[in-house]
């Protein structure tokens, strides 16, 4: 391994750069002392930040490709634009902050780390997120989500603030197959919008502390007023059964 130490801050023009080269470059920089990277002209390069486990800050200007931050273990990615599908796929640690919207399956199978999205997200947000002891993935969404939010969710926290839809959440099949974790949602949903494995409750005092903490952080990222956001009613969605298929597979 080279001992050379790079500039702490580096800017890369990603025009025409293939995703494999770009991710190799990021890995080299992270290993050699760079702590901040600005990527410009990003148009769809996949897996940006994948598998990195150094304290790197990556600023993305443009539209990163699918599976942004997949398997990432520590860095912070800030996107000035929208994210595509699979953002935070199986992420272990770190942060992704999206100044825009994100596509389908955000945070899929995440096992840790935090994702903040200013606007809304597509289908199947948080699908099969999981948690273990102190590892608890968190996804905070400023707007709303499309169908199958929290599908097969096994752990972690999803927060929906309903900021750009007047508190109306139109998603159906919320939490289908959910068997762990929690969804906190500002505004309301009808019973028919929920999967049959999901219960609805008012947040407890502990829940409120967590919601407050996350909203303050969200507001800090995107210059919102946290108190305004916290004014409305929140509901909590939780799994009714922790092992819904236990009787089928393990009698």
């Amino acid at each position: 391994m080279a001992t050379q130490v790079n500039e702490p801050k580096i800017s890369i023009d990603a025009s025409g750069l293939y995703y494999r080269e770009l991710n190799e470059r990021l890995k080299e920089l992270a290993n050699n002392g760079t702590r901040q990277v600005e990527l410009h002209n990003v148009y769809g390069q996949r897996y940006i930040g994948t598998s990195l486990n150094a304290p790197l800050e990556i600023e993305i200007h443009g539209t990163p490709g699918n599976d942004l931050g997949a398997f990432m273990d520590g860095p912070r990615i800030t996107v000035y634009g929208n994210a595509q599908d699979g953002c935070g796929n199986t992420m272990n640690d770190g942060e992704i902050i999206v100044h825009g919207h994100a596509g389908d399956i955000i945070g899929l199978s995440a096992r840790g780390g935090r994702i903040f999205v200013r606007d809304s997200v597509g289908y199947r947000a948080g699908i099969h997120m999981k948690e273990y002891q102190e590892k608890k993935p968190t996804v905070v969404i400023g707007g709303t989500a499309q169908d199958f939010l929290g599908e097969y969710m096994a752990g972690g926290v999803l927060v929906l603030l309903g900021l750009n839809g007047g508190g109306e959440h139109r998603a159906n099949f919320i939490g289908t197959g959910m068997h762990g974790g929690a969804v906190y949602l500002k505004g309301n949903v009808e019973k028919y919008q929920l999967g049959r494995e999901v219960g609805m409750a008012r947040p407890s005092e502990d829940d409120w502390q967590l919601i407050k903490k996350l909203v303050v952080e969200f507001a800090g990222h995107f210059k919102y007023n946290a108190d305004e956001i916290l004014k409305g009613e929140f509901i909590k969605l939780f799994p009714l059964y922790l092992r819904p298929y236990g009787r089928i597979y393990a009698p």
């Binding site: 990003v42 539209t63 595509q84």
Partner: protein
Amino acid sequence: MKDLDRIQNPYRDDKVIDACSIFGMMDTSGKRFSGKDIIRAIANMHDRGNGLGGGFAVYGLYPDYADRYAFHIMYLTKKGQEEVESLLRKKFHLIHQEEIPTQPTPAITDPPAVWRYFLEINELKPEGKSDDDYVVEQVMNINTQLQDAFVFSSGKNMGAFKGVGYPEDIAEYFCLEQYEGYLWTAHGRFPTNSPGWWGGAHPFCILDWTVVHNGEISSYGINRRYLEQYGYHCTMQTDTEVVAYAVDLLIRKHNLPVEIAARVLAAPLWSDIERRPPAEQELLRTLRQVYGSLLLNGPFTVIIAHHGEMIGLTDRIRLRPLTVGTKGSMLYLSSEESAIRLVCPDLDDAWIPAGGEPIIGSLQAPIKVDVEEMVAHAH
């Protein structure tokens, strides 16, 4: 054994993550533009395909022959060509014919001969039959009865170009930068369960209808049998073909509005229908009863086009992606937003439509968007 893996998986990855790529762009003011941008856009999604199919559809393509049916035909043998040409001379007034210009492209190997014909209906057309019906009949006749020849484009003032290769290679091969149209669609293929051959590349077409598709139509068998009753015969060995014939049947023959046809192809779930107002329930139930065999099952995102209109549609639970972008009179539809941004960085708006909700760009009206369905809005 040929080492296919060397071509399809050059980096020896444990898993090759592919999917088809689709892209459409339309100037709803009707202004024509070259293929340059759409070629860049679809090439930007190169990794979604695997080089076993690429293609384009162009509208406003042949203004000099705007009133003639333009047939694009691929020939596997000289004999196939002779038989088809003798039939065309009999069944139509053949106004003009030429080999479609191509240029040597290293990535394109073993192409069939591809010709185009500009045709006028002649006196052989039976009285009472519409011109369009006559043309559909002739296309089906050639594709099912004659050996080694496939009509893959048959509309007026439009055309499809397709083959085996990455879409950017197909574009180079057919010199598509040199053509102009007001509406273009494109496809990069990752064949899932049907052969990667020239006729199996997208778009699939009949008359001026074209379809590019990402996904798998698992209802293909049912759809195909239903369409056969109306004289449509599937010959391209690929599921997507049924969508082209389905929209011709529903919209041209049965006069259904696009919005209604979309609810046949991507019918709302029964549980969803039950919550609609009574009149709408009745309509949706009727559609599912009458056209149950045209319901498309399985994951899909399609871009359907015909003259004056470009339609993006996904399956009801959106198992394949679709992103929409607008800029002035331009409408963009794409599997990935980055491909749109590459050719139009400063979009007025970009969003991800809800599953089963059609996005319609039309020459007749400003870009139609159901505002309630606009989720994931960009600022």
